[in-house]
Structures are given as structure tokens and as C-alpha cells.
Amino acid sequence: MDAAIPMILVVVKVLLVLGAVLTLVAYITLLERKLLGWIQVRLGPNRVGPWGLLQPLADGIKLLTKEEITVTKANRVVYILAPMIVVVCALIPFGVIPFAKGLGLERLLGGAAERFDLNTGVIADINVGILFIFAISSLGAYGVILGGWASNSKYSLLGGIRTGAQMISYELGLSLAVVGVLMIAGTLSLVEIVGEQSSVLRWFVFRQPVGFLLFLIAGAAEICRTPFDVIECENELVAGYQTEYSSMKFGLFYLGEYAHLLFLSALITTLFFGGWQGPIFPPIVWFMGKTFFFVFFFIWVRATYPRLRYDRVMAFGWKVLLPVGLINVMMTAFIYTVWLQFTGRGL
């Protein structure tokens, strides 16, 4: 019995986070449409429910009940597998993000909260957290590439190949951008990285400004947000890798996309903006506030900037982002060493 309780609790935690994430993802789609509407001086969706609040539900029902079309010449197994890979790989990394600390459960549950690790606000605090995230996200690229290939259509294939190339290229920039943070924090665990940023001035956005900018740009490219959304560039590729997908299979790609957006925002918050830490309000409020600031930021960027040309995207990734990232790593190492020599403690 004692062995079963932690197992059940982990399942409960996972379901809780999963439910929250899926709900938020549904409402981010509404948020995006609303914000884009306001920025373009329109109203945005406002017919379903008050202020259009039931719109995600209506969209979900529409996607579920639409006719399911499988392309005749598609490679069936891979065709069905692809959207699953995308969604699963978009949702798994939420398991290592620390959402809060001290959920106030110790008063409610007494010693049990401590004993079963209920008070940490993270599903799994693994000591290679950041590597885990990169590992899963690099697997996520397969969903898109395979989806593009299995559809057996030239637009899908081109879209899939573009994604693969773009994701590999920008993963380098993304990893290099984080190296600076990891060097200063001296850990790969996200919980410890948050712990390292105990006051506003110790936030990594101030200690690693170049790293932050690189991460922001490379992150946007990694999840294929505007201005890097060349993979579904409608005037060249119809809809890229998802051209031949319909109904809920398309819905899963869509879900994966917005889950990526939410995850990237949460990761930026965790790595560079002190995670859940902040005064007065409970940790979870701070975490959500910071995360949604970045969600808003990415939507804002989408409304503002045009799409880059594909060769420019690749050239920028390899010729600008990568060298700047390398220089940033070297400079951080240099400054860190000098600082250590003179003050005897880390940055």
C-alpha cells in the first residue's frame, strides 16, 4: 500500500497538469484570435458564449465531428502516427517545469505533504531537466517530418523537410543560448536554476542578456512562430506538412503547435525570469503571469512582423545566431573565471 500511494499521487499530478495545460492551450487559441483581432481593429470571435469564451469548445466539437479523410496513397501507419508524436512530444516536457513552490498543502495534509513530495510544484525534478527538454523536443521534429512525408504530397513533403532542417539548425542556437545560464547556475536541474534566481537582479535575463535574446529568437524559430513560420507558408506551400490532414488529426497538430508556444513561454520564464518567484501573490500567479506575458509577446510579434524568406531564415540561424551564441559562451566563461579569481565566488 505504501508503495502504491506515490504512484497514484504521480498519476494525479500528471492529470492535474495535463488538464491545466490542455485548457490553457485551448484558450490561447482564443487569445490569439482575439488579440490579432484587436491589433487589426476587428472584434475577433464574439458569437459563441459571452465575449466568445466558448469558442475553443465549439472549435473542438467542429474538429471532432468533421469528416476524417485519409489520403489514399498515404503511408497509413506513419500518417496516423505523426500527429500523435507531435502532441506527445509537446506535452511531456511540462513534467520538468517547476510551476510553484510551497503550494500551502502542509497545513492541509500535515506530514504527508513532505513525505510524498507534494509541495514541490513540479512533477519530476530530474537532475538533467534541461537536457531532457532538448531530447524530447528533438524527437518532436519527427512528427512533423514524418507527417509531411507520409501524406505523399509535394507541399507536405517540402513543408516537412523545411521543418526538419529549420529545427535542427535552430536547436544548435537554442542549446548554445542556454549554456551560459547553465555555466553560471552550475546545474541542469530546472528547480535549482529557479532557486539560483532568488532576487530580481539575479534573474538570468540580467546576468545573461545576450543569451536571453538568442533564446527568444531561436525559440521562436524552433516552434515555428512568425517570423519563422516558413514551414506552413501558405502562398508557397498551401499549409506545409499539415496540408493533407483533416479533422482531429489536424486538430492534434494544431494542439501541438500551441502547446509548444505555451511551453516555450514557460521555459523562458523558468530560465531567465525567476520562474515562480515574486512578492505578495502566490507563486503560481507569478508563474502564470510571466508565462502569459511571453505568450502575449509572441502573438504580438505575429501581428507585427512579416514572414522571412526561407533561405534568409537558414542563413540567419547558421551565420548570425550560431557565432553570436559561441562568442557569448566564451565571454561568459572568461568573465566567470576572472570574477572567480578576484572575488572568490561565482557570478
Binding site: 503511408n75 506513419v78 537532475n127 537536457l131 531530447a135 517530418i145 513533403l157 516537412g160 536547436e171
Partner: protein
């Protein structure tokens, strides 16, 4: 319980490795190779080598296999075409190399099995990543640097090969 996991994982790894060799379509071979890589990473996790497991996922399952997939997707050949080109001599040479590698692995297990244990015990308080880093930059510094020079040479070689056309 751990043993059960181990057998399930080993079963997945071995079966998918067999599929890599025997399936007809190159794309399926690549997909099962990805599965093999992921399985191996899980086995490493069971050995509490979480750093190596993650690197395995990022480098092999992530980056290397994507390149395999690209080639297979763009070239679009079947294994039957490949087999018809394959001469008997090359097949036997391949088998010989495979057995030689198997022999090397067996030897490593025989020799390495006795020495690895005390190291692992000494490093109880360090995390896996710290241990790997410490060993790389102290005990194995020279081989590490030599390997990095080799990789640098390979990168420069790749760049020169690509630029040749211009």
C-alpha cells in the same frame, strides 16, 4: 520490478534492431532504428547514467537519425534495389566485421565488468553529469582534446567538400 522493466526494454530494443535489418522499406528501417536508439537510452536510464541517456536521445535519436530520414525520404529507394547491387563478398565482409565488433564488446564486458564498480561507488555524492565532466577534464583530458581536434578536422573537411562546386 526493475528486472521486469529491463526485460521489456531489452525486448523492444532487440526486436526493433531485428526489424532494422529485415524490413523491406528503408523508411521503416530508419523508424525502427529510432525506436532502438530510444530503447537504448531507456536502458541507460536504468543504469542511472541519465546524462549519457539524454545525450544519446539528443545526438543519435534526435540529430543523426533526422539526417538518415532526410536521405531516405529524398532518395526514395527500396531495399530490394540495394540488395540486387550487393555482391556476395561484401555481404560476407560485413558479417565478419559484425562478429569482430561483437567480440570486442564481449572482451570489454569481461575486462570492464570488474573495474567499473568501485568508481561508481566512490562517486555516490556526485551527480552523473558532474562525474562525467570531472573525468573528462582530469583523467581523460588528452583523449578528449584529441577527439575534439578530430571532430574539428571533420567539420572543416565537410565545409571544403561542400564549397568545391563553386
Amino acid at each position: 520490478m526493475e528486472l521486469v522493466y529491463f526485460y521489456i526494454l531489452s525486448f523492444i530494443v532487440v526486436v526493433s534492431a531485428v526489424f532494422v535489418v529485415f524490413l523491406r522499406r528503408p523508411l521503416h528501417n530508419v523508424l525502427f532504428m529510432i525506436l532502438t536508439m530510444i530503447g537504448v537510452a531507456c536502458l541507460m536510464l536504468q543504469l542511472e547514467a541519465e546524462f549519457i541517456a539524454m545525450v544519446q536521445l539528443i545526438v543519435y535519436a534526435g540529430a543523426v537519425m533526422v539526417l538518415f530520414l532526410f536521405v531516405v525520404m529524398l532518395v526514395n529507394i527500396t531495399q530490394a534495389d540495394l540488395l540486387s547491387q550487393l555482391s556476395a563478398v561484401r555481404g560476407w565482409a560485413g558479417a565478419l566485421v559484425a562478429f569482430a565488433i561483437f567480440g570486442v564488446i564481449l572482451t570489454v564486458f569481461k575486462v570492464g565488468g570488474q573495474t567499473a564498480a568501485p568508481q561508481a561507488q566512490a562517486a555516490q555524492h556526485l551527480t552523473n553529469t558532474e562525474l562525467v565532466a570531472r573525468e573528462l577534464f582530469t583523467t581523460y583530458l588528452l583523449p578528449f582534446e584529441v577527439a575534439s581536434v578530430l571532430l574539428l578536422a571533420a567539420i572543416i573537411g565537410a565545409v571544403i567538400l561542400v564549397r568545391k562546386g563553386r
